[in-house]
Amino acid sequence: MRKIPCSGCSLLCDDIIVRSDGIFIDEVIGACLKGKERFDQVTAKNRIVTPMIRDDSDLKKSSWDEAFKKVTKLLKNSNKPLLYGFSTVSCEAQLKGLELANLLNGFIDSNSTICQGKVLNMAKETGLTLTTISEAINKADLLIVWGANAAESIPRLFNKTLFSRGKFRMTGREIKTLVIIDPVKTASFGVMGVRDIALQINPGEDINLIKVLKEECCNPGSIASEGVAGIDNDDLKRLLLHLTGAENGIIFIGQGLLKTQSKKSVIRELLELVQMINVKQQKGRISVILIGGHYNMLGFDHVALSNYGKNHSLQFSNNQLIDTDDTIVSKIEREDFDCSIIVGTDPISHLPQELSKKLAKKPLILVDNKKSATLRIADVVLPSTITGIESEGLAFRLDHVPIELKKIVNPPSNIFSDEEILNQIIEKFKLK
């Protein structure tokens, strides 16, 4: 029986008790259903158990030797390789991925580009007040969940941050105010109490709300009587009162805000609002936690930033990082690549159809542990272990705290970790 962290989502709960004989997992106690499903993945039907190579039109089982040979051949013939994914692998594997991109003079990007990566980038100008989950547990008195269905994407987030009592007092839920801002009434609304504020905002109008809040912050009394973005005047005033009066307020920014690609400025405005309130506030402060889905999406930003000085979308040339505004999306759109390495993600089902079609046209090397839509078009498939269960590694929690993932069962025979696989590709490429 061991206590280990769960790698089911970016909360990386470190209180999961697992009973195992080292081969099978008998019992998982404390993890939510999403976490349990991650543990079940070990013996899942859709697990990939051998390397595969496409021969004519079919994927055929192969040996590791053959698979690596094919990979090396594809990479030798490629001038503009694309590396993508890396949000469900350990930091060690992410580092290897960057090393490979550098060696190949390729372009590397993580899922973070279309999610929280740009926020961290923007923070260089606006500043960003971060906080940790422990702060939320012990000290928070205001929690704002903006554009995220936390009850579904991070099932235990409310349990930990909203209902916990913390070290310094015996009351928990009673003194924490919850505000949910979302266009749809999600399952998260189910935890609302009488003092909480539920704001059903008109879709896509978040920016108007933020602008009004900023305005009101500088110039009290300026809210229009009919309210804004579908939220009435009274609720707005209550929200502002909480924002400016909270001793320890935390805004959880979710996919709903992060994914609004067209309106890049939403996040900027929000960060500016937070800084404005913090400057004015005497006693308390408002901080921000970004909610990413994959368990180690944040890791890539940290690894890339600390090793190469840029947190996402890195283009290498002559074994050096060069400046570019390209992202994975623009690269694929312009078909500016001739081969791709996809690690631990399923772009064919996540990306818009016209992009996934373009991606499918060029040779594709897949490193993953479960069968996905991407597998169906891959030319080489390299199966990997499940990090956090079958191999260890470092991952960054959503509040930027590094958590060490553990190994509790042995992987199926002949299966290596993402890190080892990427290392092998590097070694084999250098040889020839």
């Binding site: 404390g30 259903l33 999403k34 349990n159 930990k160 209902f163 916990s164």
Partner: protein, 155 residues
């Protein structure tokens, strides 16, 4: 608290209970009868008296048992019930920080999440059975479950 609504709500203690709320709870469990609340027999409460009689029907006075049902189809193991239950909070310190309690469970522990689903362990320690006064009216597990998977019933 459907039944409470129709009581005089004066907390006069005539029935021997400290509050009307406590009386309502016992009424629900079949431990007392509507007629035990003597003020209710006064003419001005006639309507309420009749409604109560109707609501309880033939079930009046039949002793019922507390049941807490967890619908495992709805539950997603978020652990909120584990954290909010005051009995867990008292006997399982990790729940104070929203963490899963230690394993094997403490003998008072009421809920645990196992295999991604909530499990009820020791109903006999629920405040509805063990406590006195206001604490007996505890209902937080049912109130805060985001999936409405917890139901407190008397059958």
């Amino acid at each position: 608290m459907e039944l409470y609504k129709y009581l005089p709500k004066t907390n006069c203690k005539e029935c021997g209970k400290p509050t009307c709320m406590a009386f309502a709870l016992d009424l629900l469990q079949g431990k007392v009868k509507v007629d035990d609340c003597t003020p209710l027999l006064e003419p001005k409460y006639k309507k309420q008296y009749e409604t109560l009689k109707e609501l309880l029907g033939a079930e009046e006075g039949i002793i019922k048992e507390l049941k807490i049902n967890v619908d495992t189809d709805l539950c997603d193991g978020c652990g909120i019930c584990v954290t909010v239950c005051p009995v867990n909070a008292r006997y399982c310190p990790p729940t104070l920080s929203g963490k899963a309690p230690d394993y094997p469970p403490e003998k008072h522990q009421l809920f645990q999440v196992k295999g991604g689903k909530c499990e009820l362990l020791n109903l006999e320690h629920c405040r509805r059975l063990e406590s006195e006064g206001r604490e007996r009216e505890c209902r937080v597990c049912e109130t805060y479950c985001p999936r409405e998977a917890v139901k407190i019933e008397y059958v």
